[in-house]
Symmetry: C2
Subunit: 320 residues, 2 copies
């Protein structure tokens, strides 16, 4: 009998990553490409499917693809849709679960990309054994997976956990969602670039709009490491905002721990230190010095793949 | 065989309310007194116990007190403690579950007063059949009970659901918790009085400190009804802040509905209308016009009594 493999697919604002995962959590094959190379959902899904087929073919062994798990921003597990995703080029409501099922012929599970990463963290990372924790993904935007009593919180419609779209600064920075002051405008790869530009403008280093010059979060990180004060302060400010916001997260959920994952989290202590200082300053007394904020225990590129594959496996068992 | 009754006790910042409740949710007897008449936890608990004994004696019928359920602010279900309650005169950590057990000799369950009200709403109010909702109590402070998948969210340590202590205005009004900008400094009985005073000061109607003159939230309400513009605007501002904060609540939890309960909620549409307008303006697209904000379906004085008694009954069944 062939061994079951589960596809874990992590559709992010920048990159789409896929892996073929066995029930023990080992990734046998993986692929990555730029999400923006595919202008709409059908062309992206077609490419993912072709990639999975060639991945299955490339493996030496007797395997079968049992199910597909997809993690994508702004998605509903129960409805099987991605809706109004601010960081994808897709518009409106996209029924991606159905589209994947039709092209692949196997059962498909859909969840938010950050929820998938939280499931991965719980099964294979530092959250092993925890039943109440929060995982924050700091990528193009800010995503979150909330685990309460050992289960992801989906809410009534499946869209719970949009911590990146909590309003933290009244009338603050404009967000892709159409509102102002969302957390992800401050604490994300794009947010820290905005902060860095604001600092340069306010200190008179740069004048005018500055929008033309492209600078990435990674470059801000490298500048900070090489002693650029403005870049260092940009990390401080980002951590200050994140710690402030996470104090509110704890007031809602009282998690055991909060994990940070994704591009910006790779900055490590440069981001983590100011975040923890701000969190301890802002959190309610009852939680001071009690809640660990730490980096994910999984490689950034693996958490959501592993979690999405694990979700596909779990839902397949529930069907049978 | 005697019929079982369950004591439901609601310890609030202003009043303590108790009831003797049968398994069908009927309140056979009730009592109310000012919490501040008792300077510390032992004297309050002693008085509650004496009141329960006289209540049991007063009933015509063959009853026995099977268990006691207590709802109190800043309390942990798992630890049995009330900790650093900003709106009670008690200091530090108070082991009130143990104290109630020793004086009464029956099993005692403890939960946050707002969580107790949420349980009451789920069993006997407008939240019947709902599995994901949030109840907000607008009393002396702002409390909240979060229900996810049909169960109250306690978090890792039992203290989850402190929405009143989420920070909404950076460097905003000073709070009893020692921090600045907590939601309950804006959206509560004491918050609306502060807002009313600020409006009078800013419009020059009143000069100076104005702290000596006592005015209650009820008086602000009556003034608003009688055409006082400052009082009317105070309700508008309170609703604006509450709607803004509840947009964040929905980003975390995606509840089916949000219920308002307590003294300030008795203002009805005067508070509800500006709250809903602000909520719809501030909530993320995906939830616009989808989430009902409404008043509790239970009399204010009953929700937490019923919920605390129901919790006591549920935990007693789990023990047996």
């Amino acid at each position: 009998m062939p061994e079951s493999l589960f596809a874990g697919i992590d559709i992010g604002g920048t990159n789409t990553r896929l892996g073929l995962v066995d029930p023990s959590g080992r990734i046998h094959w993986r692929d990555t490409f730029a999400t923006s190379d595919y202008p709409d959902a059908p062309s992206l899904i077609k490419h993912i499917h072709e990639s999975l087929i060639s991945g299955m073919r490339s493996l030496n062994g007797n395997y079968e693809l049992s199910a597909i798990g997809v993690g994508a921003p702004n998605s509903s597990n129960s409805k099987g849709t991605v809706e109004h995703a601010a960081n994808l080029s897709w518009k409106g409501v996209v029924r991606i679960k159905k589209m994947f099922q039709e092209i692949s012929g196997v059962p498909v599970s859909l969840t938010n990309d950050a929820k998938a990463a939280a499931i991965g963290e719980m099964l294979y990372g530092h959250a092993k054994g925890m039943t109440n924790f929060v995982l924050i993904t700091l990528g193009t935007g800010l995503g979150s997976g909330i685990i309460v009593n050992g289960e992801p919180v989906y809410g009534h419609d499946g869209f719970a956990g949009e911590i990146g779209h909590t309003l933290v600064i009244p009338h603050g920075r404009s967000c892709g969602c159409g509102r102002k002051g969302c957390l992800e405008q401050y604490c994300s790869a794009s947010g820290i670039v905005k902060t860095y530009r604001e600092i340069l403008r306010s200190t008179g280093v740069v004048q005018g709009n500055f929008e033309d010059e492209t600078i990435s979060a990674r470059q801000v990180f490298e500048k900070a490491l090489s002693g650029d004060e403005a870049a260092f302060y940009a990390f401080n400010y980002t951590g200050e905002m994140l710690g402030y916001a996470l104090a509110n997260t704890v007031a809602y959920l009282a998690p055991e721990s909060i994990f940070l994952l994704g591009g910006l989290a790779n900055a490590g202590e440069l981001l983590l230190n100011p975040t923890i200082i701000s969190f301890e300053k802002n959190v309610l007394n009852v939680w001071k010095n009690k809640i660990k904020i730490r980096l994910s225990g999984l490689p950034e590129n693996d958490a959501a793949i592993l979690g999405a594959a694990a979700l596909a496996r779990k839902e397949l068992i529930n069907i049978k």
